[in-house]
């Protein structure tokens, strides 16, 4: 049996009486006070998540850009230093090894923040394809990552507004932090990268500024309400970006691994599509439940904002249009759901 890894904030979570669970090889807080209260704190004000389990890979050198342009689906020529981009690491079949955010630190120097469960796979893939003049390093253990999210998060942290997918080195309560204008909740917010040894200090300062500690339970319901895919549930090495609705993150006019297959799916039209849905009947959809007509639920939960079951799943293309009624097998009971447009939860001010 493998020992679970702990983030630099493990003792802080214990002190807050968090419920700890195994996740992707890590012992992580799933909730503190309760998933629903934490979820609402992020929608109404500010929450903070320890996401230090995520991986950080650096790619540096005169050919770093060339290497990543050939391996990542999105077009890095669209971002200059100081900008970040959501992108996909794809395999030869056009499947998704990982979804990640690439931060362009300098022209030839990138930071990739990858999913915890895919840290090894992503690192190995990049290392195996390394070019002379491109150095790939796994620097995950040196860093902690805090996501501070919610409509009041920027004010609470004393930061200025900045466009999404930008970043800067800044001082925050005397701590030097990489402030990334990114997140996984659909709210305003930042992700703060700091050296591991500064993590507890930063966590304490962020709590003092009024952020509510939030666990992975709320992180999952928040991302599902805004239809952000979760690798391992909604996307993976056997699913392609076009069927998953991630064509916008694929620059099909450039060459990268698996692009031919993705062009073919795009031209022919996907046979199955990933769609968001809301339950019309009672019951909560869960990953793996069958959708009548050959589909399958890939993520499902209770939506705290809608107060009903919501989910995402793959359905046949003809069932993918908004308003299509679906029938989901909820442990032997047929329950009705309806395909909706993204996001499932729309912010009040939108």
């Amino acid at each position: 049996m493998q020992t679970l890894r702990r983030t630099p904030l493990y003792e802080r979570h214990r002190a807050l009486n968090a419920r700890m669970v195994p996740f992707a090889g890590w012992e992580m807080p799933v909730q503190y006070e309760g998933v629903i209260a934490e979820h609402r704190a992020v929608r109404a004000d500010t929450g903070v998540f320890d996401v230090s389990h995520m991986g950080e890979l650096e790619v540096e050198g005169p050919r770093a850009h060339e290497l990543l342009q050939g391996l990542l689906a999105n077009d890095l020529d669209k971002i200059e230093p100081g900008r970040a981009q959501y992108t996909l690491l794809t395999n030869e079949q056009g499947g998704i090894i990982d979804d990640l955010i690439a931060y362009r630190l300098e022209a030839g120097h990138y930071l990739l923040i990858v999913n915890a469960a895919n840290r090894e796979a992503a690192f190995r893939w990049l290392k195996d394809h390394e070019l002379p003049g491109s150095d790939v390093r796994d620097v995950s253990d040196a860093f902690a990552l805090l996501a501070v999210q919610g409509p009041q998060s920027i004010e609470r942290l004393g930061l200025d507004d900045a466009p999404a997918f930008t970043f800067a080195e800044q001082m925050l309560d005397g701590i030097e932090v990489m402030v990334n204008r990114t997140g996984y909740t659909g709210e305003r917010g930042v992700e703060l990268l700091v050296p591991s040894e500064e993590a507890e200090e930063l966590w304490d300062r962020v709590l003092e500024r009024g952020a509510v500690p939030c666990g992975l339970g709320a992180r999952d319901t928040l991302r599902l309400e805004v239809c952000y895919p979760l690798h391992g549930n909604d996307i993976g090495p056997d699913t392609d970006a076009i069927s998953a609705g991630l064509g916008w993150a694929c620059a099909l006019d450039k060459d990268f691994t698996g692009v031919e297959e993705l062009r073919r799916v795009k031209a022919a039209g996907p046979e199955r599509k990933l769609v968001p849905f809301v339950m019309e009947d009672s019951g909560i959809p869960r990953q793996g439940m069958a959708i009548a007509g050959g589909g399958e639920v890939t993520s499902g939960s209770h939506s705290p904002m809608l107060d009903r079951g919501i989910g995402m799943g793959y359905v046949e293309a003809e069932q993918a249009a908004a308003d299509t009624e679906l029938t989901i097998d909820v442990r032997g009971r047929d329950r009705r759901a309806r395909v909706v447009t993204k996001p499932i939860y729309k912010r009040q001010e939108d």
Partner: protein
């Protein structure tokens, strides 16, 4: 607000963390404080139909939190004569008051002698201390 941990003396318990309040050939059933705490805030209760038969040690319904679903095990055999519709409408009542407003079903007992096999509060707390 979640309830404080408690296990009332007058109830009988089942090792799957269910309780029964037995009176005049009927029983009101629910889940214990320990069970609701382990699940977290409940967001769905899938009840049996009124008139359905429930069997001791078998599932008669489901309760779900945001993260997990759990079968509810009947501590006794009987026929469902009432479902707590208030919990269907607001499952969090189970967290707020697991032995009061958060009851799940009322049954008419078909084999009252089964009561003897249930745990007393002392025996149930002993079981919890070994979890």
């Amino acid at each position: 607000m979640a309830a404080e941990e408690s296990y009332p003396d007058e109830l009988r318990y089942h090792r799957e963390h269910d309780w029964a309040r037995i009176e005049d050939g009927e029983a009101v059933l629910g889940i214990t404080w320990y069970a609701q705490d382990a699940l977290g805030e409940l967001v769905h209760y899938e009840p049996p139909e009124e008139g359905a038969t429930v069997t001791k040690d078998s599932a008669y319904g489901e309760v779900e939190s945001v993260k997990a679903v759990s079968d509810v095990i009947s501590p006794l055999s009987g026929e469902v004569i009432e479902v707590n519709q208030a919990v269907v409408d607001a499952p969090e009542k189970v967290n707020e008051d697991p032995y009061g407003d958060g009851w799940l079903v009322r049954i008419r007992l078909t084999d009252p002698s089964e009561t003897d096999q249930l745990l007393t509060v002392e025996a149930y707390q002993e079981l919890l201390s070994n979890q």
